[in-house]
């Protein structure tokens, strides 16, 4: 790692004030520290969000679950509130990486990073979540822009994510056997305004599968999506899986996600 300065502020406004042009926030460090170690990034200063109490925790009120940006994957996975309101979200968090990664990695860090194979983006888009920052709210669908790219401005801080509680939701992923990142992950949510199907791991960034949404709107069953194909052009192709294989996995994972929905 190149050298850098380090600051650990206690509040949101101090953190936003502390982060300059060549500085970065540090959350769980499970993506950014490996990047720094490989010298793929360089910063003047890391602003550690670890001591900001108001960025942590989960609350449920009315028809909404709110998760602070610094809430770890392990906390979401074991939360009784999440398990009872959106069990698919707890299931998703429980299958991110491994136990040690879940003990440090956070929801805010995961979505800010927008790795094409990350799990959370699919849940945010399918459930119609809202990303809250220090100065605005962004609909999940507008938040994830492209490969490792989000709608966040320089120095903008995610404070929390709010999820409307769906009637039913399910998540299924085909994990890369080494890292557990999604080769393909599909999150299906049956909401008051219709069914939403979001796919991660397959393309440069999360996307919705409209044909599957239409089919599930009229028949919410695993068989309804089995025969629906996704165009492989534009999908990721790498040593782990070809674009065609990923396209095939979308149908399989979507069907499993519907079967698992509760």
């Amino acid at each position: 790692m190149y050298s850098f300065e380090y600051e650990r502020p206690k509040g949101i406004s101090e953190a936003v004030g502390a982060v300059g042009e060549d500085d970065k926030f540090l959350a769980g460090g499970q993506s950014f520290l490996p990047t720094l170690k490989l010298r793929l990034a360089q910063v003047d200063k890391l602003v550690d969000l670890g001591s900001i109490a108001e960025l942590k925790g989960i609350t449920v009120s009315g028809n909404e679950v709110s998760i602070g940006a610094m809430t770890t994957h392990a906390t979401v996975a074991s939360s009784a509130d999440v398990k009872s309101s959106i069990p698919a979200l707890a299931h998703l968090a429980a299958h991110i990486g491994d136990a040690q990664v879940r003990n440090r990695g956070t929801i805010g860090g995961s979505i800010a990073n927008n790795d094409p194979a990350a799990d959370y983006p699919s849940a945010l888009v399918a459930l119609g979540a809202t990303v809250h920052t220090n100065n605005r709210t962004i609909a999940a669908e507008d938040f994830f822009v492209d490969l490792f790219e989000t709608a966040l401005e320089e120095g903008e801080l995610i404070t929390k994510v709010t999820f409307p509680i769906a009637e039913k939701a399910g998540y299924a992923k085909f994990p890369n056997p080494a890292s557990r990142f999604a080769l393909v992950g599909v999150f299906v949510a049956k909401t008051a305004s219709g069914v939403r199907v979001a796919v991660t791991g397959a393309g440069p960034s999360v996307f919705r599968q409209g044909d599957m949404e239409a089919a599930l709107d009229s028949n919410f069953s695993p068989d309804a999506v089995k025969g629906i194909k996704t165009d492989a052009s534009g999908l990721n192709s790498d040593i782990h899986a070809s674009a065609e294989y990923r396209a095939h996995l979308i149908s399989v994972m979507a069907s499993r996600a519907v079967a698992a929905a509760s």
Binding site: Y6, S78, A99, V101
Partner: protein, 155 residues
């Protein structure tokens, strides 16, 4: 340099470190506790696993300054004098290691997993140890060790 203070295996330590010092470097090089191993240095293998405030973490993927104010436990902190921790005892009895390189991390992860799952099934043990890689044993005796330790730990 930044000043850090933390409690390691029950003892408080304070030092000045460069902010880019990893927790594992601090543990091994400053504190000379070399039981915590570096296998991959790329967040994959879990050989560097220690507990920070009771939770297992990869100490190669955390800065020493992030542990400021924390309680850290390393493999050296598990035994009570000459009495091995039940997890260490079970690894010894079940031949849960061969070369032993992965073992400190494996044991730290295993202690954390039993804390969270007091009576783990074989499947739970295997899933919870996904973050720890062993190149020797084929895992079978590791799983057996953890199962036995969980019984001895009163699960």
């Amino acid at each position: 340099m930044t000043s850090v203070s933390m409690t390691v295996n029950g003892k408080s330590v304070t030092a000045d470190v460069a902010p880019n010092t990893l927790l594992v470097q601090f543990i091994r090089e400053n504190l000379r506790l070399t039981g915590t191993h570096v296998g991959c240095d790329t967040s994959q293998c879990g050989a560097c696993t220690v507990h920070v405030n009771g939770d297992s973490v990869k100490s190669c993927t955390m800065l020493a300054v992030q542990a400021d104010g924390a309680e850290v436990t390393t493999i050296e902190g598990l035994a009570n004098g000459a009495d091995l921790h039940p997890m260490q005892e079970a690894f010894k009895e079940n031949h849960g290691l061969q070369c032993g390189f992965c073992t400190p991390g494996m044991i730290m992860s295993a202690v954390d997993l039993v804390k969270r799952n007091p009576n783990p099934s074989e499947e739970t043990i295997r899933k919870e140890l996904e973050g720890n890689i062993c190149r020797c044993t084929g895992y079978h005796n590791i799983v057996k060790s953890v199962k036995q330790a969980s019984e001895n730990m009163g699960g």
